[in-house]
């Protein structure tokens, strides 16, 4: 009888499933994986979507399936998108923050100011001298920001919280 695959092996494999648009962060780094159930030949996995209208979800689903089906002895993989608990940006790990910065995207802040604004540092020069050009960016989860220090436009991931 085949031994049950270790959870760590599954996590390592899921580290290879990157955000389709940001190849420096994985779905683990983004805190999207909520639950993993491993039986002998089957893996069931629950994933939290970041933004509801995100068109990348079917791609992510396919890549999770491919990654996990390549594990020895795994015959079926079931990916379910769930909304409990709702994904919030504080689920992004430290590694995720580094990965976002490496891609030129400012990670979401850990805290929001009382008036709902948030503090952004330029991912290139780390200056705090930045202005938000547009709350909305090329994807639903990002804003467009301009750094007045190094004159680079960049994107910042929007904070989302249940507060």
């Amino acid at each position: 009888m085949t031994a049950i695959i270790e959870k760590n092996t599954v996590l390592e494999q899921l580290q290879r499933v990157k955000d389709p648009e940001i190849d420096t962060v994985s779905i683990i780094d983004l805190g999207m994986v909520e639950r993993i159930d491993i039986s002998v030949t089957t893996i069931e996995i629950e994933v939290l979507p970041t933004f509801l209208g995100c068109p990348a979800l079917p791609i992510i689903q396919k890549e999770i399936e491919l990654a996990l089906l390549s594990l020895p002895g795994i015959l079926s993989v079931m990916v379910r998108f769930v909304h409990t608990p709702p994904w919030t940006s504080d689920r992004i790990t430290q590694k995720g923050h580094e990965g976002l910065r490496a891609f030129g995207i400012a990670p979401p802040p850990l805290f929001l100011e009382a008036d709902g604004t948030w503090h952004i540092d330029c991912p290139y020069c780390m200056s705090t001298y930045v202005t938000i050009e547009n709350l909305f960016g090329p994807t639903a989860c990002r804003s467009i920001v301009y750094c007045k220090s190094c004159k680079n436009p960049f994107e910042a991931m929007k904070p989302v919280s249940t507060l």
């Binding site: 209208g53 709702p86 709902g116 960016g137 989302v160």
Partner: protein, 268 residues
Amino acid sequence: MSEHELSDVEREALTELLLQLGDDDFIYAFRGAEWLGLAPHIEEDVASASISQNSMGHAVMFYELAGTLGLSEANVLAHGREANERKNSILLERVNGEGSYMGTPTFDWAYTVVRNYFYTLAKKLKMDALQLSTYGPLVDVAKKVNMELHYHLLHWRTWFIQLSQSTDEAKTRMTLAIKKVMQDFGDLIHYGDWTVEIEKKGYSASAKQLEQIWLSMMNPIVTSLGFDETILEYELKQNGRNGQHTEDLHLAIATFSEVYQTDPVATW
């Protein structure tokens, strides 16, 4: 409460509520998408496209929840229903202005700003209320929608306040737009024929209460911008929640369901 513990009436009342929420967001997202390439400037194009995309995502969530109660899958609910089966508010189905997207559209930005702001505030109040819903699966979806809605509301409020304080022409156009929007406001915060069941079971808050909160929030804003308070008066004439709709919705359905009608299993 989960979907397995519902009686037939409860299931139907919940389905109605979910379709009202889903249909509102779906047609709202469609009207928003019609601005693509036509919005006042490039940043606005990006912003309103993003908001429309989010809202389409919200519609899908509500349709999927309806699906778990025995309805068709989201794609069929979105594309496969006639106007008289739709539960959206009449305000949201109205065209953006004269002309068509394929011809020479002369869409009305003031009307769009007012409609979007008024709708988004109403939606925000509904999502707040749904977080206390007795139907658990709806609570989490409402929470998720609310996070994104924060940005939508901020966006439309900014436009609304800035245009209202702008030139005389802007003020005139905004005044006309508010009046036009209020003509259709009657069914926006309304549950139609299913009001009693939806409210009694605690699936959402009372519509009357939500209306009052909406007015108590909007009144000080419009008066501080110099509009007469009576500008927010309205009455219910036609109720989209009960499947009563305008020609605008028929035309919209014909446009957005064209691919679906040609090939229902097409992937695009």
